[in-house]
């Protein structure tokens, strides 16, 4: 899901950085120091979550979990994902400084959308909750894949086919993310329902 450095055009990089700056500003304004620590440690947890590999058929993929993150943190997903990507850049050199804005926006924006559209149903009960949680997990990954593909496609026409392939490769990941999100949400609601009142 990460776009490396040096691939995208300056216009896309600038746009991504600007949108991320706005999202992060909103996220930070809504956070006070009382909840900052919670967000920091949850960001660490999601960073660890993105290192979890699950088998899909013959291959395996790592989880992204931006849907669940968005559902729990709301707008704070922007700073949390930004920080997570910064750490990935520093620790593993995935992504980098110039693409930080684009990558953050691509993952955080669908997460925030999920927060507004699907979260009310996710804290409900019964089948509606499962469906909403599945959609939240799957569509957040789909949205992130779509935005990534779009940023590639708008950079150069030649990347169009590569972008399409990249998106298709994410379809199985979407299903797995959806399933994992459903189960994680039902577990959290049973064990610690106040998780969903952080944001």
């Amino acid at each position: 899901m990460h776009i490396s450095e040096g691939v995208l055009s300056p216009a896309i990089l600038g746009l991504g950085a600007a949108l991320t700056a706005v999202g992060t500003a909103i996220g930070l304004r809504r956070l006070d120091y009382d909840r900052l620590m919670t967000v920091a440690i949850l960001a660490a947890a999601f960073f660890v979550g993105s290192l979890i590999h699950v088998p899909i058929g013959p291959s395996n993929a790592h989880l992204i979990l931006n849907g669940l993150l968005g559902a729990i943190l709301g707008w704070a997903a922007f700073p949390a994902i930004l920080v997570g990507l910064m750490l990935q850049a520093v620790l593993f050199q995935y992504g980098g400084i110039t693409v930080l804005g684009v990558n953050t926006f691509n993952m955080a924006f669908p997460a925030v959308l999920g927060f507004y559209l699907l979260r009310p149903a996710m804290v409900g009960s019964g089948r509606a909750r499962s469906v909403a949680a599945f959609c939240c997990g799957a569509l957040s990954v789909a949205g992130a894949g779509l935005l990534t593909a779009l940023s590639l496609a708008f950079t150069a026409e030649g990347f169009l086919r590569a972008a399409q392939l990249l998106f298709l490769a994410h379809v199985p990941v979407m299903v797995v993310e959806g399933v994992v999100t459903v189960l994680a949400v039902s577990f959290l609601i049973r064990v610690r329902p106040e998780v969903f009142s952080i944001s």
């Binding site: 490396s4 450095e5 040096g6 691939v7 995208l8 300056p10 990089l13 992060t24 930070l28 956070l31 120091y33 900052l36 620590m37 919670t38 967000v39 920091a40 440690i41 949850l42 960001a43 660490a44 947890a45 960073f47 660890v48 979890i52 699950v54 088998p55 899909i56 058929g57 989880l63 729990i72 930004l82 920080v83 997570g84 910064m86 750490l87 850049a89 520093v90 593993f92 050199q93 980098g96 400084i97 110039t98 026409e157 030649g158 990347f159 169009l160 086919r161 590569a162 392939l165 399933v179 994992v180 999100t181 459903v182 189960l183 994680a184 577990f187 959290l188 064990v191 610690r192 998780v195």
Partner: protein, 232 residues
């Protein structure tokens, strides 16, 4: 400085300049003396994405066909685009490795604070970094417990259910931990600011470094303009 370098290289449009950027990044990297084996692994990892582009873009990009492989033609424009991306990507990566990754994260955090990054973001960065390893240990513990009970990851519902529950458990524990840590910090008089024990000072060496960096930038910008003039 790394950021400025990355931005400049990302803007560059001519292969010659990109290659020069790569060379400069290599020089900076040699100066920072990183451990070789770890370095190599990281460079290879990033180039996996580049390899993916090499495999797809030249085959699918419309343009003048150089040669054909069975049914698909390899286009010149496609090759140029990917070659360019490869050069730029590696130049930025090496510069980043040399200039940023050789710092430890607390230093990066303090540097960000001094550069005017919002203090809440710096706080998040420092504490997320601080607890990543702790949470990773937590996850490992749960996974070990699952494996002791005979859990083998497969492509089935049970695996995904287990992973979902384990991860949710990690979230619950993180939440509890954050409450404990925050209370402990309040007890020690935390008021939203960090008092740093070590101070950063500017040494003559740093001034020299900034000068060299500026010179390298100006050189690259010149090459970019000059190449443009030559082509037209």
């Amino acid at each position: 400085m790394a950021a400025a370098f990355s931005v400049t290289v990302a803007m560059v449009r001519h292969p010659g300049t990109a290659a020069a950027g790569l060379l400069m990044a290599m020089i900076a990297l040699c100066a920072s003396l990183p451990p070789k084996r770890a370095l190599l692994r990281r460079v290879v990892l990033v180039n996996v994405f580049i390899l993916f582009l090499w495999l797809t873009v030249p085959l699918t990009m419309p343009g003048e066909t150089l040669w054909t492989l069975g049914a698909v033609g390899v286009s010149r424009e496609g090759l140029e685009l990917v070659g360019m991306v490869t050069l730029k990507s590696n130049a930025i990566l090496l510069a980043f490795l040399a200039l940023v990754a050789s710092m430890d994260s607390p230093t990066i955090g303090h540097a960000m604070a001094r550069l005017g990054v919002p203090s809440k973001l710096v706080f998040l960065f420092l504490f997320t970094y601080r607890y990543v390893h702790v949470i990773a240990d937590e996850w490992q513990r749960l996974r070990t417990a699952a494996r002791l009970r005979g859990f083998v990851p497969r492509t089935d519902m049970r695996t995904y259910a287990t992973v979902g529950h384990l991860f949710a458990m990690v979230l619950v524990r993180s939440l509890d931990r954050s409450a404990r840590v925050y209370r402990a910090m309040i007890l020690r008089g935390f008021d939203g600011r960090f008092a740093s024990v070590c101070r950063f000072t500017i040494r003559p060496r740093d001034g020299l470094f900034v000068l060299c960096g500026l010179a390298a930038h100006i050189l690259m910008i010149f090459m970019e303009c000059f190449a443009g003039v030559l082509r037209v």
